[in-house]
């Protein structure tokens, strides 16, 4: 999956979950490096749903054991994880 398509898929997911939760949707100008926590789009309890969505959308099993934690906080980091371009630790 191409990077831009991945971003659109995840933003679409976040938009749907925000709608279900009655919270603010992602901003139209969301940047791939924006912290999704700081934007209020995910929290510790909804994180698992986003990761599972990423796994099922891309067909790649993400694995914290191979990545720094901060990688999971941004769209760019998430894509790098599933694309295998994030530096292994």
């Amino acid at each position: 999956m191409e990077r831009e398509q991945f971003y659109r898929e995840v933003v679409g997911f976040l938009t749907r979950t925000a709608s279900e939760a009655g919270t603010n949707p992602p901003p139209a100008d969301i940047d791939p490096d924006d912290n999704l926590f700081d934007l209020g789009l995910v929290n510790s309890f909804s994180m698992i749903r986003m990761i599972v969505f990423v796994e099922e959308t891309t067909g790649v099993a993400v694995d914290l054991a191979d990545h720094e934690l901060e990688t999971f906080y941004t769209l760019r980091g998430l894509y790098d994880v599933v694309a295998g371009t994030e530096e292994r630790v």
């Binding site: 510790s44 698992i48 993400v62 694995d63 999971f72």
Partner: protein, 230 residues
Amino acid sequence: MTVTEQRPTDEGHIDRIRRRFATVGCAQLADAAPEFVVPLHLPAVPRNGRPRICGPVFPVATTDDMLPALQALAQTPPGHVLFIHNTVTRSEAIVGDIFLTSAAVQRLGGIVVDGAVRDLTDLAAIDMPVFSTQVTFVSARTTSQRVTDLPQTVEVAGVAVRPGDWLFGDPDGFLLLPADRVGAVFAAGAVLRDREEALKKAMQDDGKTLADLTHLGDFLDGTGDLGFTP
């Protein structure tokens, strides 16, 4: 689309998860992913001072018989947790120092005995976590009743412990995770842990209390909602 690139349960992968489990406990995993976590209400405690255990589980059932346990020990792959379910209520000892030494030599992830162990003094010197529900110096016998289906699914406290599921145990208890969700749940649990630590630091640095952070006063006054999210 389904996940197509599941991680193999190779030793390196298991070891990386184990090292992360040193800081992300059962509480964080359960809070972060209650839809995937299966609590295992097993009153087993660490018997040699090593209070954390994790890995893909290799279960076997026995009835006060060493032979199934010995067969399972021989077949348990490195990094896996040998889970021995003794079906009797008052167990004879299934695991002792020689058994655990072999497990260490085989580089298992540890042993959980739903039953008894013995040789506690000697177990302490072996670098391999071992948990059990009971202790007795009376050793189980060894029959000639061979087990032909290993590993087995065993039922403990109403929960099916299936081969390949991941078992996590720490001072808060035990839980099971499907193997194909371990990475995702661990990532979410680690994030939750990270946010909790930041929250505690903010409380300590700013002098905020839990009542402040949960808006408890507003809630009790009927002027606001209760709760906060890390």
